[in-house]
Amino acid sequence: MRRADPIASPTLWVGVLFVALLFGMPQLAPLFQWSFPGVTPPVFERGSFFALWLSHAGLVLVAGGAATIIGIALAIFVTRPAGRDFRALISTLAAVGQTFPPAAVLALAVPALGFGPRPTIVALFLYGLLPIIENAVAGLEGVPAATRDAARGMGLSAWQLLRDVDLPLAAPVILAGVRVSVTIAIGTATIGSTVGALTLGTPIFDGLAGNKLPFVIQGAVLVALFAILTDMLFARLERWLQPPGTPA
């Protein structure tokens, strides 16, 4: 494999741009003032962008982490002999979770969980489960039958088969599902701001409510960069997790 020159890496430059804007947005005040005269203040200042990002990333991490752990666990369960009967059921439930618009989930969750981050976490979790389950099932079922037959015939236990054969060979496909799920969750988390969660969507909704276009732009650019950067980092992780000896 060819080692990429770090200076030529787009991931690095997107990362630098993201961090610079995250901390340096107030320094761009004159630019926004000049572009949108009459909007005061020109830069969102109800909280630092770093604090918003931290909260945003925290929501995605908790919801995405839970969706990943539970999604992979369910996929492992339905691809074992004991859980095979549940395969269709689990896929259907995950698909139903996906058909609920996250905004509707928020509306339904608020009465039960109150305002704040919790309804957002529930919505992101439900929304993120499907791509993870679908990919993990596809990855585990894609392990060549001959390889599994040989493994069993040589006396690997069920656990050894999962750990040494199924999971390493399915890892790239599983990770691709997590990547899609987390990238979508970063975008979707912004609507959490409508029910009181602090996210990079907060300036967007403030801007929409107060007719302050610069806030919308500031929030949207940071969310977009965050999503792109995360996607790029996952791409690197995928290359790193690619089992040796298999074509990428």
């Binding site: 040989a150 040589m154 236990s157």
Partner: protein
């Protein structure tokens, strides 16, 4: 010794193996032969408990296989299959070392064993041990599959059409290898194939299966000379069975010692089939025969082939 006693197995009420009894002696090269769907693979996979059977008993060296934990049983039995099933994410060395590692052999012993097996399969250990399966040809992959099956020095080797997916030249080479390994190690081998030529070439004993039942059991030559039923006669080759018979007999059995003829001599170890082929090629009815050292010891005549 492997004993199958009144084994039966049904899938959805349809019998796939029907009251099958066999005794494979130690050191035998036993071939389960039959058309597809005759239950030969199912039978093989019952021996290492990959397929459970409904009734009957299987004993290896007198021990009922259901008294041994599945995984422990399988680690004692080598297993090689047509689609090979090498672990694509492991090197050749790791693949071969699978069972020794499961058995917690020390690293040094595993390394030496891998070297020994690669040499046995005529692959250069130093250039092959670090390779990944996708870097190997089909024939090389199957050699690694055989090496992996032999790794922990199992008492018994199960092979399910191991050479079914390789080209004829490679298959020929692999058949020679396994015959040589069998002769050298005297391991008991149970081998599934639908290829009658392969069976006649390798087996010391053949079990012909017909719809889950034993149609005939015996040495290759008995089966060709005295087929027990029309099914067996058709399966071992109908009109071609005469040629197969010639293929199973050596020139030494029919030659006329002391006489001499012109031409390049054939080895006394060659089959009568080869003698016929060479006679046809040379437009002659007699050929000189030589011993292993190349010394002329007699002749074989066309009439001797059909005696």
């Amino acid at each position: 010794m492997i004993e199958l006693e009144h084994i039966s197995k049904r899938y959805d009420g349809r019998p796939v193996v029907d009251d099958l009894s066999l005794t494979v002696p130690d050191g035998a090269f036993c071939i389960l032969l039959g058309p597809s769907g005759c239950g030969k693979s199912t039978t093989l996979r019952m021996i290492n408990r990959l397929v459970p059977f409904d009734s009957g008993a299987i004993r290896i060296a007198g021990e009922d296989i259901r008294d041994v934990p599945e995984e422990a049983l399988r680690r004692r039995i080598g297993y090689a299959i047509q689609s090979i099933g090498l672990f694509p994410h492991w090197t050749v060395e790791d693949n071969i070392a699978t069972v020794p590692r499961l058995l917690n052999w020390p690293g040094r012993r595993i390394r030496d064993r891998v070297t020994e097996l690669l040499e046995l399969l005529r692959l250069d250990p130093e250039s092959y041990r670090r390779k990944y399966p996708h870097q190997l040809s089909g024939g090389e992959q199957q050699r690694i599959g055989v090496a992996r099956a032999l790794a922990a020095d199992p008492e018994l080797l199960l092979m399910d059409e191991p050479f079914g997916a390789v080209d004829p030249i490679t298959r020929d080479a692999l058949q020679n290898e396994i015959a040589r390994i069998h002769a050298a190690t005297k391991k008991t081998i149970v081998f599934v194939t639908h290829d009658i030529e392969e069976a006649l070439r390798l087996a010391t004993v053949i079990a012909i299966l017909e719809r889950g039942r034993l149609a005939q059991w015996g040495a290759p030559i008995d089966i060709v000379e005295h087929p027990a039923s029309a099914f067996v006669r058709d399966f071992v080759g109908g009109e071609g069975s005469g040629l197969k018979l010639l293929g199973l007999r050596k020139i030494a059995e029919r030659m006329r010692p002391g006489e001499s003829a012109v031409g390049v001599p054939l080895s006394a170890d060659a089959s009568l089939r080869e003698a016929l082929a060479v006679m046809t090629e040379r437009h002659t009815d007699r050929l000189p025969v030589a011993d292993a050292s190349g010394r002329a010891i007699g002749i074989i005549m066309l009439a001797d082939l059909v005696r």
